[in-house]
């Protein structure tokens, strides 16, 4: 209920913005819905747009459930795209049956590495993962720019156009188009399978139990003998892997079948690393609810383009409204209650720490190293 109210509230504000810009909100929103869900073609576009959102979203579910705030989706997507692209540039001759699964695995590997770094830094050095993931986003963007401007640049571009992009990647790695579809490719099935996988992981495996236990209370998990630090690393690694798959899908499911940069991360990811957070929050951090959520937000992003044509209001409006959805969801009463309960637990934990170590008071160092920001955050 809360997320729905958040979306409605955002759209009311969106309507005010539309009115202020001299556009008819009803006409605009009709075009939006029509462009997103009104025809088979629209639905196919929406599914395409939903794919990276779903993959990043379920990754965010893993991290946030473990009370680890992963802001690094953008960088992890880029890392996944880089590793999968490099793999295909080297072994592009493999038959599609081998190469396509390899693309997904390579993407997951790249994202996992880029997620594991902040995980290790948080667990073993007490580095706040919000900060480290933001920094790693910057590193990934610049590394992508470097690679696409020289080492893996299209040889034709090196002599002529100088567009920072790869050559047309091996056709064997093209994500197969689904039967009867024009653009919709196998990535959508993979994304759905990944969402189910993450659900099973979180609620049907020992690791998932540990992830949620650490997210609930790192202190309790530690008393229960769980390897808290390793679990934090696992949370960010797995979260990154999902984002990495999204990055690979963006390259090999694109129409140009190239990896292209405009120098910024937004240019490659279309902010999916951030919008995936919106998607996951709207899906109540549940991997299966994130499926319809991603479809909704994918639809809004696609429909925004139709709206742009219908009432001449740039589609950037939707990015802004997504931001409002986040703000409304996290400000909502229900979350406040949950967070307050966490705060209680944290207070108890802090009390324990001060008993353990009166000299440093609040047990500062342990705090930042083991509790997640939802934990540190609220405590």
């Amino acid at each position: 209920m809360v997320p729905l109210a958040a979306v409605l509230a955002s759209f009311v504000i969106g309507a005010v913005i539309l009115l202020m810009l001299g556009a008819d909100p009803i006409e605009g929103y009709r075009a939006l819905v029509d462009g997103a869900f009104g025809s088979p073609k629209a639905l196919s576009h929406t599914a395409m747009k939903a794919m990276p959102l779903l993959l990043v979203g379920v990754g965010i579910c893993i991290a946030f459930r473990a009370s680890v705030i992963n802001i690094g989706g953008e960088g992890q997507m880029i890392a996944g795209a880089i590793v999968s692209t490099v793999v295909v540039l080297n072994v592009g001759d493999l038959p599609p049956l081998v190469l396509v699964p390899l693309v997904f695995c390579a993407g997951a590997l790249g994202g996992a590495i880029w997620g594991a770094i902040p995980g290790v830094l948080k667990a073993y050095s007490g580095v706040n993962e919000i900060l480290s993931t933001i920094m790693l986003n910057i590193v990934a963007v610049q590394f992508m720019n470097f690679l696409l401007r020289d080492p893996i640049m299209d040889p034709a571009q090196k002599t002529s156009g100088r567009i920072p992009q790869t050559e047309r990647l091996s056709a064997n790695a093209d994500l197969p188009i689904l039967p009867g579809a024009s653009r919709l490719h196998i990535g959508v099935l993979v994304a759905l399978a990944v969402a189910v996988f993450v659900y099973v992981l979180l609620w049907r495996t020992a690791l998932g139990y540990r992830l949620r236990a650490v997210g609930h209370s790192a202190a309790a998990a530690r008393y229960a003998g769980m390897p808290v630090k390793r679990t934090i690393v696992a949370a960010l690694t797995l979260s990154g892997a999902m984002c990495g798959i999204a990055g690979a899908v963006l390259v090999f499911g694109s129409e140009s079948h190239r990896f292209v940069t405009d120098g910024s991360s937004v240019g490659f990811t279309q902010s999916a690393g951030f919008n995936g957070i919106v998607t996951a929050l709207f899906g109540a951090l549940h991997p299966l609810w994130t499926i319809p959520s991603s479809f909704l937000f994918g639809g809004l992003l696609v429909g925004a383009e139709t709206m742009q044509r219908a009432v001449q209001v740039p589609k950037a409006l939707m990015v802004g409204l997504n931001g409002l959805v986040v703000v409304f969801v996290v400000s909502s009463e229900r979350l406040r209650r949950v967070l307050r309960e966490r705060a209680d637990r944290e207070t108890n934990r802090r009390a324990d720490h001060s008993v353990d170590d009166p000299a440093t008071g609040a047990g500062r160092s342990t705090d930042s190293s083991v509790s997640g920001p939802l934990g540190t955050a609220t405590p």
Partner: protein, 310 residues
């Protein structure tokens, strides 16, 4: 490489490094004040973008750079009020709500730019003010005393903010609220009022930073800040929550950027290699974070909403 180590080139690098550091420093000083009160604002980049567009559009329409600055400040104050309501009144999770603010700023600034302006037209800001006598000192004057008034103002803010945090009653309340809000509350300090004030100042400076960025560059475009707001947040950690530390970090980032630009201009490094070098400040920040997390404690109540009932 020998082209780079000429006096003229080095003077130029230092001068432009200082200019590049200015918006990050402004936003970083604001973020430091906010974090000292226990509030993390991840939305700096979004507020900067809105402030930048506000200032840009105002100057485009009125031709007055002063009006542009004022609008940037006003945008910051409005966003500060909103963020205060979200994080103090509603006690929302700060890491996530900040991302919401970022997306809002990213989308809305782009929306308004495309709708109201469309093609990027240049604006004229403040002409450089050569400080009498000081600017005449060979080299030194060129590096430090031939900037826009915005640059001087920003660097003057460093001791001002340090004084505010360390030597005033408000600063004492600020630090108390950031370290132990319950204790501050029991002594009659209104945690909410102090945090609201800190957030308003922080966002004011973020809006101003955006305005300064747009004026210095003379243009606006989608995602003009390109993550500078996020760097400003890192600077606060880098500088261990001290204004002088933030300044050191901002100068380091600025100097690395201007060095890279100069090397590219001189053809010392290729475009590709300059991207590789642009990774350096971020990597350095991560190293700094590792060191700092072992030696310096962050404000104890950072990111913790205060609820008096508890």
């Amino acid at each position: 490489m020998s082209d780079f180590f000429t006096l003229a080139s080095l003077v130029f690098v230092v001068g432009s490094g200082i200019r590049l550091a200015t918006p990050m420093l402004l936003a970083g000083l604001g973020e430091a004040i906010g974090q000292r009160s226990g509030v993390l604002n991840l939305g700096v980049d979004g507020v900067m973008l809105l402030g930048a567009f506000g200032a840009y559009y105002t100057i485009l329409e009125t031709g007055s750079a002063v009006a542009g600055i004022l609008v940037g400040v006003a945008v910051g104050l409005i966003m500060g009020l909103a963020y205060g309501v979200i994080t103090v009144t509603f006690g929302a999770e700060q890491g996530i709500s900040g991302i919401g603010i970022y997306l809002f700023g990213l989308g809305v600034s782009d929306l308004l730019f495309q709708k109201q302006v469309g093609t990027p037209l240049p604006i004229r800001g403040f002409s450089d003010w050569h400080i009498p006598f000081l600017s005449d000192i060979p080299r030194i004057g060129e590096m430090f005393f031939q900037h826009s008034v915005l640059v001087y103002m920003t660097f003057l803010l460093v001791p001002v903010v340090a004084f505010l945090i360390n030597r005033t009653t408000f600063g004492l309340d600020l630090r108390a609220v950031g370290e132990n809000p319950a204790a501050a509350d029991s002594l009659g300090v209104s945690v909410a009022r102090v945090r609201y004030s800190a957030i308003m100042i922080a966002n004011l400076l973020a809006g101003l930073a955006g305005a300064v960025l747009a004026i210095e560059l003379g243009i606006f475009q989608q995602n003009l800040t390109n993550g500078q707001g996020f760097i400003a947040i890192a600077l606060v950690y880098f500088g261990a929550w001290r204004p002088t530390g933030v300044m050191a970090g901002a100068l380091l980032f600025g100097l690395v950027s201007s060095t890279v630009l100069q090397w590219r201009t001189l053809g010392i490094v290729s475009g590709a290699a300059s991207s590789l070098m642009a990774m350096a400040p971020a990597l350095l920040t991560i190293v700094a974070l590792v060191v700092i997390s072992r030696t310096v404690g962050q404000p104890s109540a950072l990111t913790r909403p205060f609820d008096r009932g508890k």
